[in-house]
Amino acid sequence: MLHIDDLTYAYKKDEPPYRYNMQVDAGEIAAVMGSSGSGKSTLLDLIAGFLQPQEGCICLDGKHLEHLPIEKRGVSILFQNHNLFEHLSVAKNIRLGRKEATDKEIADILEEVGLGGYEKRLASELSGGQQQRVALARVLLRREPILLLDEPFAGLDEQTKSQILNLVREITDRHSLHTVMVTHDPEDAKRIADRRYLMHDHRLVSQ
C-alpha cells in the first residue's frame, strides 16, 4: 500500500502549507481533483521526489520513501506533454526505461498497448494518443510499483482519451500498480478511479 501521512509542503514561508493524506492499494487508482493552482501537481512532485516535504511521510508497503533519491523511489511518471524524446525512435524511447530490454520484450509491450510494429517510427511522427501509449509501454517495461499521472489525457479527443483511460486501468490491474492520477475532469475520475480525493483549501480531502 502507498500511504501518505500528513505530508506538508509550502513554497514560501509566509504561505499556508499544502497538507496531504491519502492511501492507494496495489492495483488501485486514486484520482486527485481540484482547481488550477490548488496543489495537485505538487503532490506528484513530492511523491516523485522533485520536492522535499517539510513534514510527513510517504510509505510504500511500510518503507519510507521521502528521504530516498528520485531514482530509488520506484516511480514512473506520465505528463500531459513531453513524455517522449521526439528525436528518438519509439523503441529507443521505450528502452530508456530499462537498457537491457530485448527487442522481443519491446515488441511485446508495444503489442500490449496497441502499437505493434511501431518500433522504428520516430516519436515526433506519432499522434498525441500514440505518444501516450508509447509512454505507457515504457511504464510497463520499467516495472516500477508507483505510477503518477499528471493530467496526461487533457489534450486528447474523447475517443482516444477513453481508450487510454481503459489502458491505464488494465495496466494498473494486471501489474498491481499504485496509480495516482491528477485530473481536473471529474468524469475521468468516476470512470476509472477506485478512490477520489479533492484538493480544497490547501488540504487533500477524501470524497
Binding site: 516523485a48 533519491p69 528520485i70 514512473s76 513531453h82 524524446f85 528525436h87
Partner: protein
C-alpha cells in the same frame, strides 16, 4: 478594406528603405569593381593567400573555442540556479555585446600584457615572468573568446532554460546521468542555437578588425580586414586594398549564403527566469561552480584592470583636454545619430516585413515571400559587407568627389554604424512586432483601428522596451567601433576609439587608461540607464 489599404503605408517605406540599402550594396560593388579594372585575379600571390588562410584559421579556432567555452558556462549556470550572484553574472556576461572592443583589448593587455597583472604576480612570487606572450594568435583568440563566449553563453543558457521542466523530470525518473541528460534531453534543444551562434561568431571573427590590428602584433597575423587597412592607410597601395576587398566580399558573401540555413541571427537575450530542478551529484556541483568561478575571473579581471588603471591615471586632467572633449562630442553625436537612424530604419523594415509575413495582412499576396526575403537581406548586409570593405568604397568615392572629406567621413561612419547595428536590431524588434500582430491584429482590424491608433494604442506599449534596448545597443556599438574611423580619422575628425587607439599606439598608457575607463563607464551607464528608463512590457504577459 480600409485597414488593408492602410497597410500599403506600412510596407512602402520599408520596401523603399530595403531597396535603398540593397542599391547601396550594388553601388559599392560597382565602385570597387570599376576601380579594380586593372587588377589581375588570375594568380593570387603567396602573401595574399597566407592572409586569407590565416583569416579563416583564426575565425575557425575562435569559433570552436568560444562555442565550447560558452556551452560549458551555460551548462554550469543552467544547473546552478541558486549560485550566489547568478543573475548579476548573467547580466555581466550579456554586457559583452556592448563593451567597446578596444576597451576590452586594453583590459586584456592590462592582465596578460608584458607588464600585466599575471606577469607582475609571477615576478612577485617567483622572480620570473612570462615575458611578452599576448601578441599574435594567442591574443587574437583570447579577445575573441572573451567577447564571444560570454555572449554565446547567454544564448545557450536561454536554450537550456527553454527545455520543458517535464523533460528534466522524466529524465530524472528514468535515472539519467549528467552525460545522458545532456545528450538526450539538452543537446536536441541546444543544437540549433549552437549552430546559429557558431555561424554568427565565425562571421564576426572573420571580419574582426580592432582586435587583430592591436593584438596581431606582426604581418604574419594579419587578417584580410587589417591587410586592407594597412594597404590603404600605411602603404597607400590601392590596387592591393581593392584586390583584398573583393576577395573579402566574395568570401563573406559565400559564408553568409552557406550559413543562412542555420543562422538565425542574434536573439533578444534580456530575460532569464526559468529554473531547472535537478539535484546534481557532489562532483558535478563542484565542476559547475568551478567553471562559473573561473569564467567570472577571466571576464571580470580585465574590467577591473581598466577601472584600477583608469582611476590612477588622473582622470580629471584627461577629461579637460580639448582633444578629448572633441573626441567625446564627436563620439556622442555619432552614436546618438546612428542609434536614431538605426531605430527608424529597423521600425520601417520590420513593419514592412511583418506585413509580408502575416497571413492576416499581406502574407497571402503574390511576391510576399520575395519582398520579405529582400528586407531580411537588406537588414543583414553588414554580415556580407565588412566595415573596411565598405570604408574602402567610401574612400574611393571621396577621392573622386568634390565634397569635403569630413562630410564623407560622417556619411561613411553613420552608414557603417547603422548597418552594423541593423542585424541585432532586426533580431530584437521583428519577433516582438510579430508577436503583437499574432495577438492583436484580428482584434485591431475588427475594431477598425487606423494605422496611427494601432501603433500608439496597441503596439507602442509593447515595443517601447525593445526600442529602448535597440537604441542603447546601437548607441554602444557605435560609440565603441574602430572600423571606418580607422580610414577616415584625422586631427579634425576624431572619435573616442580613434583617440584611444592613437594613445595606445604611442605608448601613452596612462592617458589611454583614462580614456578606456570613460568609454567603459559611458557604454555601461547608457545601456543600463536607457533600458531601465524605457523598459516596456512583454507581449506574452
Amino acid at each position: 478594406m480600409r485597414q488593408l489599404r492602410s497597410l500599403w503605408a506600412g510596407w512602402l517605406p520599408g520596401v523603399l528603405a530595403a531597396l535603398g540599402l540593397l542599391g547601396f550594396a550594388v553601388m559599392l560593388f560597382v565602385v570597387l569593381l570599376r576601380s579594380a579594372g586593372t587588377i589581375s585575379f588570375s594568380s593570387i600571390d603567396p602573401q595574399t593567400l597566407h592572409v586569407v588562410q590565416f583569416t579563416l584559421y583564426q575565425a575557425l579556432l575562435s569559433t570552436i573555442l568560444s562555442v565550447g567555452l560558452g556551452l560549458l558556462l551555460a551548462w554550469a549556470l543552467a544547473h546552478q540556479p541558486r549560485f550566489r550572484g547568478r543573475s548579476l553574472l548573467i547580466a555581466l556576461f550579456s554586457s559583452s555585446l556592448v563593451l567597446p572592443t578596444l576597451v576590452v583589448v586594453f583590459g586584456l593587455i592590462g592582465i596578460y600584457g608584458r607588464n600585466g597583472w599575471i606577469n607582475q604576480l609571477l615576478s612577485w612570487v617567483s622572480g620570473h615572468d612570462l615575458g611578452s606572450y599576448l601578441y599574435g594568435l594567442f591574443g587574437i583568440l583570447l579577445a575573441h573568446v572573451y567577447l564571444n563566449a560570454s555572449f554565446a553563453s547567454r544564448a545557450f543558457l536561454h536554450a537550456f532554460e527553454s527545455i520543458p521542466q517535464e523533460k528534466y523530470k522524466l529524465a530524472k525518473s528514468l535515472c539519467f546521468g549528467a552525460w545522458q541528460r545532456f545528450w538526450i534531453v539538452e543537446w536536441p534543444s541546444l543544437k540549433q542555437t549552437v549552430w546559429s551562434s557558431a555561424a554568427t561568431i565565425f562571421l564576426l571573427c572573420f571580419t574582426s578588425f580592432a582586435i587583430v590590428l592591436i593584438l596581431g602584433g606582426s604581418p604574419k597575423y594579419n587578417t584580410i580586414e587589417v591587410a586592407i587597412y594597412e594597404a590603404v592607410k600605411l602603404d597607400f597601395d590601392l590596387p592591393t586594398a581593392l584586390k583584398l576587398a573583393l576577395i573579402q566580399l566574395a568570401l563573406t558573401s559565400v559564408l553568409v549564403l552557406l550559413s543562412s540555413s542555420f543562422r538565425s541571427s542574434i536573439t533578444n537575450l534580456k530575460n532569464s527566469t526559468a529554473r531547472i530542478i535537478w539535484q546534481e551529484s557532489r562532483g558535478i556541483i563542484w565542476l559547475q561552480r568551478g567553471l562559473i568561478l573561473l569564467f567570472t575571473l577571466f571576464f571580470v579581471t580585465p574590467l577591473l584592470s581598466i577601472i584600477v588603471e583608469g582611476v590612477d591615471a588622473g582622470l580629471w586632467q584627461i577629461v579637460q583636454r580639448p582633444i578629448f572633449l572633441q573626441a567625446l562630442v564627436t563620439s556622442l553625436a555619432v552614436a546618438t545619430l546612428s542609434a536614431l537612424l538605426t531605430l527608424l530604419l529597423v521600425l520601417v523594415l520590420s513593419s514592412a516585413k511583418r506585413n509580408f509575413d502575416m497571413p492576416t495582412r499581406l502574407g497571402r499576396s503574390p511576391w510576399a515571400r520575395l519582398w520579405s526575403l529582400l528586407i531580411t537581406l537588406s537588414g543583414n548586409l553588414y554580415l556580407a559587407i565588412p566595415t573596411l570593405v565598405m570604408g574602402l568604397g567610401f574612400f574611393l568615392l571621396a577621392l573622386h568627389s568634390a565634397l569635403p572629406r569630413t562630410l564623407w567621413a560622417w556619411i561613411a561612419i553613420l552608414t557603417a554604424n547603422v548597418l552594423m547595428s541593423l542585424p541585432f536590431a532586426m533580431a530584437v524588434i521583428y519577433p516582438q512586432m510579430m508577436k503583437i500582430s499574432q495577438r492583436y491584429d484580428k482584434l485591431s482590424f475588427s475594431l477598425g483601428l487606423g494605422r496611427r491608433e494601432r501603433f500608439f494604442a496597441v503596439e507602442l506599449p509593447y515595443l517601447r522596451g525593445v526600442m529602448a534596448y535597440v537604441f542603447a545597443l546601437s548607441f554602444c556599438l557605435s560609440l565603441g567601433d574602430l572600423g571606418i574611423i580607422a580610414l577616415f580619422g584625422n586631427e579634425s575628425f576624431i572619435t573616442l576609439p580613434w583617440y584611444l587607439y592613437g594613445l595606445m599606439g604611442s605608448y601613452q598608457s596612462q592617458d589611454a587608461a583614462g580614456v578606456a575607463l570613460v568609454m567603459l563607464l559611458l557604454s555601461v551607464t547608457v545601456f543600463v540607464w536607457i533600458t531601465k528608463l524605457f523598459g516596456g512590457r512583454d507581449v506574452t504577459h
